[in-house]
Amino acid sequence: MKILVCISHVPDTTTKIKFEGNGDTLDKSGVTFVINPYCEYGLSRAIGFREEGKNVSITALSVGGPEVEPTLRKALAIGADDAVRISAHPNDSALVARQIYNYVEGKEFSVIFTGKESIDFNGSMVPGMLAEYLGWSFVSFATHMEMTGEESAVLHREVDGGYEVVEARLPIVVSCQKGISEWRIPNMRGIMAARKKPLAVVSPSEEVADTLSTIKFDYPPAKEACTYIEPDNAARLVDELVSKGLI
């Protein structure tokens, strides 16, 4: 079974986000980039299939410039067999989905894992668009996946206050969420092996017009200073909340 894991290259979760100029782009100085945590759940689940004794090959793919290569090496260290970088600027969800689609067409993958969203743009659009371009099934926000046959799987999908049990046909695009697996820490052997694993650079296969463009980034509206209330005066808090119509 051939599995593709899409890896988004994002600022570490502890990053204090700062924008450059008039909010044109992220100020990358001092920022550590990592595998998008949700994509990493997908990678872990793919490795889980191998540990369950299935014959799987795992390709990690990222759309981006040379700066994403260390992130792909990390995916190789965790356990992907090979990696692919599609050399295009990933600034538009339609473009990213289209690029991945062009790469995947005709390559006989059965499962594509993505994150439920990337923690930078939070669009949550790439996986569903990719599934639609491919004409594959799609399960979003998956918290569980087991194969039930050569071409079928059962998944759990997060919904409000619970989960849905979904029966799906392969090939499939699965967007992953916490619960589908646990993150793994690469060991020394994995890190050494990763240096020798293949990382192919693929040029973007066709020009795709961008549909969306960023104008600028702002910070969320600043908060007014906190009003402190004495610990033995919960009644005052209740009065404040009632007078603001909050409770």
Partner: protein, 324 residues
Amino acid sequence: MSVLLFAENSQGKFKKAVFEAATYGFELAQLLGTNLEAVSIGQIENAELEKLGTYGVSKVYRIQSEEMDAFANTAYAAGIASVAKSVDANIVVMAQTYNGRAIAPRVAVKLKAAPLSGVISMVDPGNGFQTAKYSYSGKGVESFKSEKDSLVITVKANGFHVAENPQSIAIENFEYTPAASELDAVAKEIVKASSGISLTEAEIVVSAGRGMKGPENWGMIEELAGLLGAATACSKPTADMGWRPHHEHVGQTGIQVAPNLYIAIGISGAIQHLAGVSSSKNIVVINKDPEAPFFKIADFGIIGDLFDVVPQLIEAIKKAKVSG
């Protein structure tokens, strides 16, 4: 050209997020000088559909076919796209719910439309449909434009507003029978992990963290939430340790919420936690550590021991209820 709302129902009922998306669709239709129409999929009574009229919908197309009683994103997207084409709508609006996120990207591809996801402000039709959404998990706000005038918009829950714009509403059945190939991922069952209030839609969220010391102390959190009609949430470590169910975990790697009021009890306010809750409109923090980072984004703070403060708060609310 008209604006089409996907009016998602949950077991035959509309939730607030749908009325918020309807309000968005109506205000956009007004800007464009057109009407807001809607498509509904699945079993639903006329009386429920008529509620859409209150929020600006003048006509609703109802797709009811047995195959679509259970959620199937491919078939739902195909049904919506088919209505959009037949009524010549090049803008589709829906709530950014779990199902909305599964369907919107497919509909965008089918209609060759730009996907505008999780918007928090009205698009500006005179200026490349410029609008905004949160980015960097709530740490930034991105303003962006679309090169196309064909759009699929998902509206962030509690990100816009709900307003009544009463219309007389017509209900029409729309024939759509999905092909077998469109039933490639079908919900067989929904397992409810809680009977409580939906976390993403709640007006008030009561959230607690490691300061609670152990799962046995959560009774007062549930009591407080019960009194306020609030949903309960928790920090990541408390879910990881099994003190609380995973579906309550909020933050960057959990559920992102934006309620009107978020009450954080015994949570330090780590950057990853704040990323998922900082768009809450009002924040109350109860923590014994005056240096806890959460106070920086709080509207009201109580520095004190939660085991004293929370029971007092519960009593004060009960009193206010009796007198109010």
